[in-house]
């Protein structure tokens, strides 16, 4: 730190910035992802050199990335949205049904309606959490059951097959721009938009404030009860969009669409450094976490590890991530603690030691 301050400005400023970047929690997740990809590539070169290998590497995380970003927004406000997977399922199936049974509806309208369905379901969550002042885990557990049940009641054993869907949607699932999958570009654009909102817009910063301490936020005059539902609306809307991505990517949609994804989104966010107790972490971290999770999914079978052990690896990864967060938090706290004996300023005590 001190060398960075003294020596040649231009080069060391970049160095310091790089150093700070490397110290960020997201860097750990990025390194883990790259490490996993390299390791898998060494064990089984086909993972990196096979036909479409690189494209698949980018394409696989696109959908999970979108809903992990959504989950991160909700987690940052010290809430959780377990119904996100059911929302995705309903939106995906709605997309399929509209294309299959109502070809007269314009394609753009179909996509918009599918996204709005997500918005509506998210609004219900937000209102229930905010008006009832009930833990969101309880509410969204209830709506997870309810939405999932609705989907099953609606879809039954029906199944949307690829021939029901328009060609452009199926092509979108595999299309690339300059070798880069379109769906992943979508996901990254969404990540940038949500990231901009969370870090630059005042209301986004308020989400962090609310998450770190709802009481303090209330005392500061922040509109806590109006802001929290917004997080759920964002999450529902993105889940709706992810439903369309699901339809494009898999082209086969049954009542099982999205089942179990709610925990994957929480896991991605946590692995990427988003704290479950709110106020900490970034949506970019959640996106990296999603990339890591989806890569594990594909890497383990390629390395010859039976797919059954994949869940085990995910669990271990989550635990490692939260333990790491805890260690970092303790270290940070120690660094910031004022030593009453010498009365030095916070932040300097640790550096001297």
């Amino acid at each position: 730190m001190s060398t960075a301050l003294v020596a040649r400005k231009s080069s060391s400023a970049i160095g310091a910035r790089l150093k700070r970047l490397m110290k960020r929690r997201e860097a750990a997740a990025v390194l883990a992802t790259i490490g996993l990809i390299v390791l898998t590539g060494i064990v089984n070169p086909r993972f990196l050199t096979g036909a479409d290998a690189i494209r698949n590497l980018w394409l696989t995380p696109s959908m999970l990335m979108v809903i992990a970003v959504a989950q991160a927004v909700v987690l940052i406000t010290r809430n959780v949205d377990l119904s996100i997977s059911a929302t995705l399922g309903i939106s995906a199936y709605a997309t399929g049904v509209m294309f299959a049974e109502h070809p007269e509806i314009p394609d753009a309208v179909v996509v918009i309606v599918a996204i709005l369905i997500g918005t509506a379901l998210g609004t219900i969550n937000g209102l229930l959490v905010s008006l009832g002042r009930i833990p969101s885990l309880v509410i969204t557990l209830g709506t997870l059951y309810a939405y999932k049940g609705l989907l099953i009641a609606w879809a039954g054993s029906n199944r949307i097959v690829p021939s029901d869907l328009p060609d452009w949607l199926k092509e979108l699932g595999v299309a690339t721009i300059a070798g880069f999958p379109v769906l992943t570009v979508f996901a990254l654009i969404i990540l940038i938009c949500v990231g901009y909102y969370m870090y630059q817009r005042p209301s986004g910063r308020e989400m962090y404030a609310i998450g770190s301490s709802p009481e303090a936020a209330e005392l500061c005059g922040l509109p806590v009860r109006r802001r929290v539902p917004v997080a759920f609306v964002i999450s529902g809307t993105l889940a709706g969009l992810a439903g369309v991505i699901y339809a494009a990517r898999y082209a086969t949609i049954s009542s099982l669409a999205g089942a179990g994804l709610e925990f994957d989104t929480v896991a991605s966010a946590v692995i990427g450094g988003v704290s479950m107790s709110g106020g900490l972490g970034t949506v970019a971290g959640a996106a990296v976490g999603a990339a890591l999770l989806s890569t594990i999914d594909r890497a383990l079978p390629t390395m010859g590890v039976p797919a059954f052990w994949q869940e085990c690896a995910v669990g271990a990864l989550i635990l490692a991530a939260i333990v790491l967060d805890r260690v970092l938090a303790i270290r940070n706290e120690r660094r910031l603690r004022v030593d009453p004996a010498d009365g030095s300023k916070p932040g300097r005590a640790g550096e001297q030691a």
Partner: protein, 369 residues
């Protein structure tokens, strides 16, 4: 208002028998019990064949693992934590029983090992939550995946079946002879419930559970060792999951990695429907058990009414939302009207003291619960 609350406080201190009865009837448990009765009556009228012994018997068998796991889960939720890994631990324990049996180990020993494995899983949860100081929600989502991964990894798509008949018959037996409604397992549930109720409501450990849930700091000052307490609770939850894993393997005659998937949500839903507060500090075992029974009634009746298995989830979800939001909405409404009345009475109170009175009232409620 202040006079009223103080006299209420003295009444709370030494409740007479009548007041105690009145409180019992106006409490959350009574409400849930009434709901259970109403559901049962409606279902008995609407759904054909619901009142038969066979229906009751199968409902009992289905409900058994949920209601048994709700016992430790209720105590954990009262401390303000949650254990989402119980479904995975149950699955893992069933796999352990299966593997040990396939190695030629006798069933009773396999069951004991399953309980130990469960307790060990709970120990890991408890250490991470209590010692390392991590959020139980994050920890148990992690261990949920970890334990499930172990269970699925150990057996793959394989299933171990053909457990010895005598043990299977014991698990699926009926208390009063063939054709009657009550499964033998009810006896085991009653024993467990009595033990847990005594533990939570009649020991200093149990009072500590409420204290930790209401205010961890105050509990620490009062000498409650919350770390040890939470560790013990998570271990008991794991041990119970171990036992239920053994039950699962024997009842369905199948040890599979994906056994009991999603069980944790049923258990949490049951406890919450039964009035256990997710904020911690309030709730009772009786309420949680009745909550589980309501869910069980609903599920088995809808199943009999030819509602598709999974569409039943809508009903469970709505029930959860209604039972949690309903009383909360009533409470908020009551607060609002009380506030209005105070303001209209024009005693010159400003809003702050007003809110003081209201929050006093709330605190009183919390204490009495």
């Amino acid at each position: 208002m202040s006079v009223a609350t103080s006299s209420e406080a003295t009444r709370v201190a030494i409740p007479t028998r009548v007041q105690r009865a009145r409180r019992l009837l106006s409490g959350r448990e009574a409400g849930v019990a009434a709901l259970a009765v109403v559901v049962w009556i409606v279902v008995a009228i609407v759904v054909k064949g619901f009142t038969t012994a066979t229906t009751a018997y199968y409902m009992g068998l289905d409900l058994f693992p949920i209601i048994m796991l709700a016992l430790p889960m209720t105590m954990i939720i009262i401390t303000g934590e949650v254990d989402l890994s119980i479904g995975s631990m149950t699955g893992l324990a069933s796999v352990v029983v299966g593997i040990l049996y396939s190695w030629g180990v006798s069933i009773p020993i396999a069951v004991v090992v399953a309980i130990v494995v469960g307790a060990l899983g709970g120990f890991i949860n408890g250490m991470l939550v209590a010692r390392v100081g991590l959020a139980s929600l994050a920890v148990t989502i992690g261990t949920m995946a970890l334990y499930r991964g172990m269970a699925v990894g150990a057996l793959g798509t394989e299933a171990i079946t053909s457990f010895p008949n005598e043990y299977r018959q014991f698990v699926t037996g009926r208390l009063f002879g063939p054709g009657t409604a009550v499964p033998t397992m009810v006896l085991i549930f009653v024993i467990a419930a009595v033990l847990f109720i005594a533990w939570l409501h009649y020991t200093s450990f149990g009072r500590g559970v409420y204290a930790v849930g209401m205010s961890p700091k105050a509990a620490a000052f009062a000498g409650v060792e919350s770390l040890r307490l939470k560790l013990i609770l998570f271990m008991s939850s794991g041990a119970m999951a171990g036992l239920m894993g053994a039950y699962w393997a024997l009842r369905y005659n199948s040890a599979r990695g994906d056994n009991a998937t999603g069980l944790e949500l049923m258990v949490v839903a049951g406890a919450l429907v039964g009035g256990v507060s997710f904020f911690g500090g309030s709730g009772s075992l009786v309420g949680a058990c009745i909550g589980c029974i309501v869910i069980g009634l609903l599920r088995s009746s809808l199943r009999l009414g030819d509602v598709p298995e999974d569409a039943i989830n809508v009903a469970v979800g709505l029930l959860l939302i209604v039972t949690v939001v309903g009383p909360r909405a009533m409470e908020l409404l009551k607060l609002k009207t009380a506030e209005l009345r105070l303001r209209r009475s024009g005693t010159g109170r400003n809003r702050a003291t007003n809110e003081d009175a209201i929050s006093n009232h709330q605190n009183q409620r919390k204490v009495t619960e």
